[in-house]
Structure formats: C-alpha cells, structure tokens
Amino acid sequence: MQIHDIGNFTAVRAAGMAKLLPYKPRIAVGMGTCGTGNGAEGVYHAFAEAIDRRGLDVQLTRTGCFGFCAREPLVNVWIPGRPLVIMHQFQANQVDVVLDDLAIGQITRAHALCKIEEWDHLTSQVKYGTGLPDIPSWNEIPFFKGQKKIVLRNCGLINPEDIEEYIAVGGYLSLYKVLIDGTPEAVIEQIKASKLRGRGGAGYLTGIKWEYLRKAVSDQKFIICNADEGDPGAYMNRNEIEGDPHSLLEGMMIGGYVMGATQGIIYVRAEYPLAVHRLGRAVEQAKKYGLLGENILGRGFNFDIELVEGAGAFVCGEETALIASLEGRAGRPRPRPPFPAQEGLWGKPTNINNVETWYNIPPIVSKGPAWFTETGSVKSPGTKVFSLVGKVNNTGLVEMPLGTPLKDFVYDVGEGGVNGHSVKAVQTGGPSGGCIPLDMFDTPVDYETLAQLGSIMGSGGMVVMDEDNCMVDVARYFIEFTHSESCGKCVPCRVGLDKALRLLNSFTRGAATPAALDGLDELSRMIRDTALCGLGQTAPNPVLTTMRHFRHEFEDHIRAKRCRAGVCEDLALSPCENSCPLHMNIPRFLQLYKEGRLEEAFESVIMDNPLPASTGRVCQHPCDNRCRRISIDEAVNMREVHRFIADSIFQSDKFDKMAELVCSKKLEPTGRKIAVVGAGPTGLTAAFYLALLGHEVTVYESAAEPGGMLRYALPEYRLPNSVLDREIELIRRLGIKFICNTPVGTDVTLNELDTQFNSVFISIGTWKEAWVYLAGTELRGVMPALVFLASVAKKEPLELGKKVVVIGGGNAAIDSARTAIRMGSDVQIIYRRERKDMPAIREETDAAAAEGAKFVFLAAPHRIVGDENGRVKAIEVVKTRLGEFDSSGRRRPVPTDEIQRYACDTVILAVGEAVDPDFARASGLKIKESGTVEVDRYTLETSRSKFYAGGDVITGASNVSNAMGYGKKAAKNIDQRLMGVNRFDKLFRVFEYSQHPPAQVSSCGRHTVREVDAAERIQNFEEAVAGFTAEQTMDEANRCLRCDIRESAHEMAG
C-alpha cells in the first residue's frame, strides 16, 4: 500500500498495531545474530511446529535483540491484557511447557526474566497490560536498571522485517511531520539545539555538520550512513540494524530532506549478513509503501537509499577511505581538507554519520531538543549504546545516559567481575581507545572525560578486564589489530605500528630491555602526532593508556620477566608455576613422582621450596585456581602431592641421605657473611639459598626457636611442630647459625649488623595487631589473635572463657576459632562481609564450621561491653549491608542502624596485623605510609645500602608461600649484588623426564584429603588432616595435563 496522506498512514498504523497487540497471545523470539547464535532459530522452529501441531491460535514472530546477550535466547510472551514477559536462556525443549501454560492463560515462571507493562517507543506508547506481580518489571532488574532506551527504543519488541509494526509504534511519523510542516532550517536548528554529537566516536556536533552540507551548493549531494562497524568486541550497530532497520532509514530520509540530498548510501559491513538482509528488506518495503523513491508521502520529496557492502577493511570506517571504497578504489584515506562536505563522494558534497547518530534523529524531531537534553550530561546529551563485554557477569548491549560513571556499568549493570574475580580495568573505544583503571571508575563516560584519560568513547565498545588479563598483552593485541588494518599509506602508521608491535612482542617474550619502554612511548607519541588519518592517530592509545595506568605490569615483564596474569606464555613454565610465589616447577615433581622417582621428586621439590612439608599443609595454594585441569573437572591437588613427597622423605630413613644431597649442592665458600633477621618462613628460605650459594649465614630470632609464624601462629593441629622441626633440621645442616632469643633492635642493633656483615636481610613478621578503634578493647578477655595463638603454641597459661567471639575473616580468625573450640569453648565468628569474601582458605572455614563454629556475616564490631569487674560480658555488632565495590573487587560493607548483641566472655580480634612500629622507627629504614618497609620491588633493596627486606615486613600480613617467595628472591638478588654475577641458576640441575603429555587424559577426579571426624578432632590438637596415600598421590600426578610442554623450542642458532 502506498502511503501518500494521513489517511493511509493511519490505516497502516492500525494494521501494524493489530500485529503488535493482536487479540490472541503473541510470542516473539529474539533473533538477532546473538540470539540465533545461542539457538533462537531452534526455539522459533520448535514454537512454530508445536503451535501448528496443537492448532493453537497464537501469533509467532521474530524480533531483534533486547540487549541482554548473556541471557540469550530471549523470548517475549504476551497474553492480551497482561504485561509482556521476557523469558531468558530459553531452549527449544521449554516450548511445550510455555504453550501448555499459555493454553490455560498462564505465563510460565521458570524462565521469566522480567515484564513490561507499558513501553515508551518515544514516537508512541504501547500499553501491554497489567498483572503478574511476582515478575519484576524490566527496569527493576540490575542489568536494565539505569538504562534508558532511545536508540534501542524498538529493538527486541517489534518485528524488524515488518514495516507495519514499525509504523504502528510511531515510525515514519517524524518524517511525515518534517515533510508536512518542517522547514529544513527549522529541523537543523532542532538538531543543533539538541547538541546531538556524532556517535561514531569523534563526537562532532551533528547539527553543525548538517548545516555545512545544507549550505553547500551543488547539483548533487550525498548522505552516507557509516555502518562499517569493525571494533573488536563492539556490535552496537549490528544489533540496532538487526532489531530496527526502519529507524535508520527514517533518520536518513529526514537528513536527506534537510540537507538537500536525494541519494543516501548505507555502507554496511559485509560480515553482518543478517543486518544486510534486514536493511535490504526494509528498503524494499519502504519503497513499496511510498516512503522511498519519488514524491515521498506526496510531498514532492525524492530520496533513495542504496546499500553497499563494505569490503572488510577497518580503515573504511574513516570517512575519506569509506568514500574511496564507495568509488571502487582501495580503501585508503586521504588528507583533509578538502572535507567531504566540500568534496566527497564522486567529488560532490557529502555528509557521513554513524548508524547510531541517525537513530537519534526521529525521536529528536518527534519530541524536541529540550526533551533530548534532559538526558545525559550538559556537553554530551542523550544516551549511547555500549557493548559491555569481557570479564563481567552481565554482558550485553546497554544504552546508558552519557555521563554515567564507569562503575555503574561494571558493578550495577554488569554486576561485577566473573567468578568473584576483581575487575582491574575497562577498555573503551576499541583499538582506538584506551584502558581505564579501577581507581578511575568514578569517571563519567562522556566524550571529554574519556579523552582526558587518553581513551575515547569510540563507537561504544566496553571490554571489562580482570586480574587474568595482562595489560601488556592487551596493548599488544590492539596494536596487532591496527597493525594489520593499517592501510599502509603513511609512514608512521605503516612502519611505526610495525616497530611498536615488535617492541610489544619483545615485552611479552621477556626479551625487552628497560630502554624499550621509553622507545615504545616515543614511538607511540610520534604515531599519534603524525599519522595521516584517525586510525593511525588513535592506534597508540591502547599502548599509551596501559603504559600510563599499568606501568608496573610493563616493568614486571621487562625487569622481572614475569607476567602476573599468566597470559604471556613465554614468561611462564605453566600456569601453576606462574601462580606459585616460589615458582616451583610443579609439573616436574608430578612427572618425576609419576615415573616412580620419589627421591628425585623430593630433590626437585626441596630445591624449589625449602619448607615443602609445611607449605604442603598450610599453603594458600594459588596454583589450584590456575590449573588448566579445571576446564575438565577440578584442579590437580598439587599441594597435597608435594606434602606427600616431602613427608615420605622427612619421615623416613631417607632423610639423612637427602639432606646430604642438598648439602652437596653448596657452592664454594665465598667468604661473605650475611645476617638474616627473623627466622620465619621468609628468613628460613633466604638463609637456605644464601647458604647454598656459599655464604656464611647467621639468623637472628627473637623467639626461643626458629619458625616464626609457622611455629607460633599456626596451630599444632594444622602444622605439627615435629614436621617443622624436620625441615629446620635440614636447613641447619647447611651450616647456618641460629641465634635465638635475640630481638634485633634491642639486643643487637642494625648498626652492629652493618659492621659485622656484608649484607643484611630483614624478614621479621607482622606480630603487632593492627590498631582498631573499638570501645572496650581494654577489657579483660579481649585479646589479639596472634597473642592468643602464640600463647597456646608456647603453652603459656591463658584465661579463655566459655563463650568466645572471634572478629575477622582471615586465616588468623579461623585458626583462633578452631583453637578455642579445641580448648572447649563455644565460638562465634563475626565477619563484616559475606562468607565468599573471606580471605581465609576455604577448606579451613569449612572445617571450622564442621567443628561447630557459628558464623555471623555482615556484622562489624560496634563495642565490647564489660561487666562491673572489667571483664567482657557481651559484644555489640552493627549489621552491615554491601555497598559499592572497593579496590579488592568485593563489595564494601556499609554499616546500617541495626545493632545486635551477643553475650560472650572472650573476644579475639583477628582484624589484621602490622609491623611493629617501634622496630620500624628504630631501624632507620624508609617506612611507607602503611607502616611497612619500603623496598625496590625488583631487587628488595631498602633505603639503606646493604640492607634488604622481604616478606610481611614489606607487604603487611600475607601468607606463608608469598613470604617464602620474597626470601628466595632476596637470596638471588643479595648474591648477585655481592658477587657481581647471577649465580642463582647454578644451584639447579637439569632433570631428564618425559616431555610428552599424557596420551590419554586421566579420568580420575580430584582427591581430597581425609579429615579426622570433627567430633573426634576437636578433642585434641592432633593433626586434623591426614595426607594422601601413595595411590592417591599417583592418581593426582596422573591427572596433570602437562601444560609445561611446548612444541619444540624455536631454533635459535643455525
């Protein structure tokens, strides 16, 4: 039907409305590319078949995507008079249930995501109906809350292949309005007043751009829609077109009329077949209805739209390259001026706008500029569609008012990091954009602010990154992209990006020198300042921003040759090794054990980790989280394997032989004397390696026996002293002198050490309880966790009550709780966050619960109440609720008004430990604000020459393996400084063992350790967890996939 007057228009509108809100139920399957990719096609056919089979009177149709990609396929189900219900993660086998319910007038709740009672299409309203109070309204669920759909006003609701549905929701009314009573000048004024800015990324004012073309004098003018969306991870334009192609056409028709162009061209990515198809259909239908072609709507306006499929070059997003491509030439940009508005396509004045810009036109014309500027920020009004992807829970297309803080995207709409991982950056603007770090998440997302941070808005890609993303690799990835998409015309982009990529590759291979960082910086600035077109000028942004905000990651790659995220494979043996603070060669000892070579397995273990039996029991096992076996079932239980290997030697007659073997590895005596201050895990580790390197090592310890936290903080049931004693015995045999009961700082001064030793390593622990402001801490019965644990370990007399409250969620809290239980007390653990946020090892928390510890979560201590004798009688806690995410990626607990009281007679505070401030002050070393000793991150040198520090004294309270990692690193660096060369590697021999991955993946599941029954184990301090059996150990060794094996190393020399 040709529309040439308002009468036809109204008739078509009514026909469309009858499809949108029919007398019968309507089911619309979201069939954008994203839905189809998740099985929407199958869902649609299942519906079609079932409706047909049952002879139901139900209208089935296709629609575009409603945006929630993580929950595809989405299906809209509507019963007349009721709200439209959006069902998510819909599969074909759910069709029958839904139809069964529909037959009795019911909506299936199982997959209902949300409902829509009334929808504002902006160009009109649609009232679906009311009811279904148990289903949340669409804007009540986190993903949609805060979104405002202007561009996506029709997406996922109407059938994109039916012009009548578009007209039903007010489509082409804006065009009609413009043609009936709008002068071009008036419309341009409207667009100017709306301050609409180009959504392709540059953010130029659309109204001004239109005015240029309007004023250009020529026999012919062109308008072009740039739909050559090519940023990795961005698909806004695709979904917009797939969901609502007619809005684009209408925007262009208005533009054509206003700017005096009779020809519009849509340059669309050929890789978007569905978008191309739907656009093609839309153009066809528009022609059929008299909306395109001659004498449109009977108003004497001629306009046609042609589709041109892009040839797949990213650079064709640049307007002069796009024009070259349209003219049939290679897509290479040319310098401007002349600007396209002067000389564009075929030399004629031309206007180019991005897809999304055109989508904003009909609503602005319909509702006026004042309405438009209500949304967004002053300089950037309106909304922008972003594709929120990456390491975030809710991925999808989100349309947010401009100026919305970045954190709202990540934490509200996106609902935070995946698997509880903490988000560290967001990359905006694709290859032309940059990375914005966590501490800048308050940044409002608009053109200017992002530009200030060195990024750009771009077309709206937003990639969330967490601790598993290596920022050097991210920079490398984007440069690789622009490098391969550079047109090759100008020198800075063609050659400069090649040089930049080579440098970045050398970083990720660990082959770069510190000077390369400055080289990359200069290179990036040069390309940015001198490249011919936008591609080259913005290509360095990912490098410049990551270097600015994540410089330490670059330095890690260069100076330490480490990639913390474990992404850069050349810098790690395997993910487990990379995550291990001691960098144990885990695949090696697993394989050696597997080959029945127990003694060599032990040798491998002990040379990597001098306290393997202790760490085998108490290590935080970061390796578990990284094991690639997780993709099959669960991580290999690596910690328990090395515990077994260690125990097999330490508790057997092979001990002496193996100790001798270790001692035989000692290098020639160097004559250098080194003092180690503190015989905790850090100090013991450093002493072990320094002694092996041939130095004369003296260890000072304030307590009666070496071991530090291992002996005095870790309870006997977790780590029996007998186990620790064996390990220390081996270390002693290397000829290390231990001077106990001698606190450095009081009994011996650092100055004395300075004169007596060639180098001093400080590795004291964090024995002071962190200061906490809490009324009542002076009461009898209140004690810090470490004091409590040490008293128990030293078997000192202790006044422990019957009802104990432990405050905190770390390992010290759980250790205190389990110790108190063993001493016959009732224990309650109070923690301000949720259980999943507890830093304690999960197994320990579970064990505490099994032993009867009660947990109170989301509660912070308010005050401790004493009785008339000055003894604790209760604790009051204030309930918390979880607020915004903090820098640890966990939600910050916010106090509420609710106070609860728990009767108790003892309160153990386990809220963190710190370095003894008196020592720190007396040491004369430079101390950081956090109260820890300042060191060079890579060498561990302190501000005082000859003095090194590592472990808790530089990090604050941490864990055993982290502490030991510092000990190992310190030994290597101290030796290198003293001897002038790197001799550390000389300590480690080469092992020959199988370098073939298992022919068949072991089908065995992960073994867990045998725990003594809770009721029994709380009776005493006997070790609560028994290690593996030999069989279990072999099973675990067999489960290893051997990610350490690479294809044969590249030939280095001919």
């Binding site: 001026p337 090759g488 100008c490 020198v491 800075p492 063609r494 040089k499 200069e522 300042d529 011919l532």
Partner: protein, 236 residues
C-alpha cells in the same frame, strides 16, 4: 583570479595565493621543508609525513604538502619536536626494508640516504626486520627492487597523472603494502607500460633504476619530470 593572502613562515611574512599549499609557498620563499612523497607537478598525497609543520592555533601537526594556506596563518617549519619526528620517519624507512647503500646503484644520489645524512642519523633505533622482498628484473631496460622501495607512490602518480598509463599502484595493506604493476604482473609483461621511464626518474631511491648501471652510477632526473608536468598544466 585567486585571492592574495599573506602568511608567516618561521616569523617571516610571505605572500601567497589562495589555494596554494604551505609547501608550495614555503619552497617558493626559499624555506626548506623536507619531503619524500611530494614532488612538484604531481598531486600531493601526504603520505611520508616528513613535511609536517606546526601552525599556530592548530593543535595537530599538519602536512605542508596538502594544507592550503589561509590568510594570517603562522607556520613553523622546524622545531625540536618536528626534527625528532622527521628523524623517526627516516629511521623507519631505513629499517622497514633492506637498504644496503653500499651496493646500491643510487648510492650517493638517493634522497633517503641524503636525508639520513642531513638529519645526522648514524644508526636506526627500532631494529631491522629483514623482510624477504622480490626484485623484478623482467623488464628489458628497467629494474624494480622492492628492497629499496619506500612506497612514496611518486611512480604511481607520475604514470597516472603525467604519462596517463596508470601502470602502478599499491596493493595489500599495512606493512605488507607493495608496489604493484597492472594486474600484479612482472614489469616485463605489463602491456600498459609505455616504457617511458618516468617512474624511474622520479623514484627517490634505487628501487627503480635503469639496467646496466653499477653502484653509485644511477642518477635521476626528477626535476625534468616536474618541469614537464608543470608545463603541461600542473596536476590533474
């Protein structure tokens, strides 16, 4: 008649005509601005970026070869930053492909080599890649050595704009961009080539040369091509 305008170049007032580029005006006024892809008489493409200049009030650096003068414009042709960036351009070109000056027919007459000397470049800063590049010896009189090609496209333009044959163009993208003739044929098999040799004469390096010359022997006559082109009425 084009409007007369006045601009300042490095502080000196210079008269110019509207429509002229900064480079044209500067060269006429005897101001040196380096360039490799630009050649008088051919259309300007702004590809080598050596002629970048600073224009006061404009945040970006602009290529002098394609930026038209505007009345009152103040241009700086040299600064610490411009010099550094220009050195980097030459540095890039020296190491992009394989330039063995010592054994090149154009040794001593090469514009790239000359610029390196002029800029005091004693070594490259971003490493060599040693790409494998073909040498096309198929033409009876000319040779095309891609090792020495800097993709300035002067040959492309002289052939299309002056000779009218449009034998040459560039193919592929980014660092893989290559000069290509006709439908990627060897030079000797290109039927549209008239054998005029203009491309050889405008080539700033030894990438295109006449056969039969030994090291240092090939001199080019790009000036006469410029003269020819301008006499024929300038660029298309």
């Amino acid at each position: 008649m084009a409007q007369k305008v006045s601009i300042r170049i490095d502080g000196e007032y210079v008269g110019a005509k509207e429509g002229q580029t900064i480079l044209e005006v500067a060269r006429k006024a005897g101001k040196y601005i380096p360039a490799l892809c630009y050649m008088e008489g051919l259309s300007a493409v702004g590809a080598c970026r050596l002629c970048i200049v600073e224009v006061s009030g404009v945040g970006r650096l602009l290529p002098a070869c394609t930026t038209p003068v505007q009345d009152g414009m103040s241009v700086t042709t040299n600064s610490e930053k411009l010099a550094r960036y220009r050195r980097m351009v030459v540095d890039f070109l020296l190491s992009e492909r394989n330039h063995y000056c010592a054994v090149c027919v154009s040794n001593g007459h090469c514009e790239l080599q000359g610029l390196a000397q002029k800029f005091g470049i004693t070594h490259v800063h971003y490493g060599y890649g040693y790409p494998k590049m073909p040498v096309d010896l198929s033409h009876e009189r000319f040779v095309l050595d891609h090792n020495r090609c800097i993709l300035c496209t002067r040959c492309v333009r002289v052939c299309a704009e002056v000779e009218g044959a449009h034998v040459w163009d560039t193919a592929s993208r980014g660092i893989r961009t290559m000069l290509t003739g006709e439908l990627n044929r060897p030079w000797g098999a290109i039927r549209s080539c008239t054998g005029c040799g203009k491309c050889v004469q405008v080539c700033p390096t030894g990438a295109m040369a006449e056969k039969g010359w030994a090291v240092e022997e090939m001199t080019k006559r790009s000036d006469s091509i410029s003269w020819l082109a301008t006499q024929r009425g300038g660029r298309e």
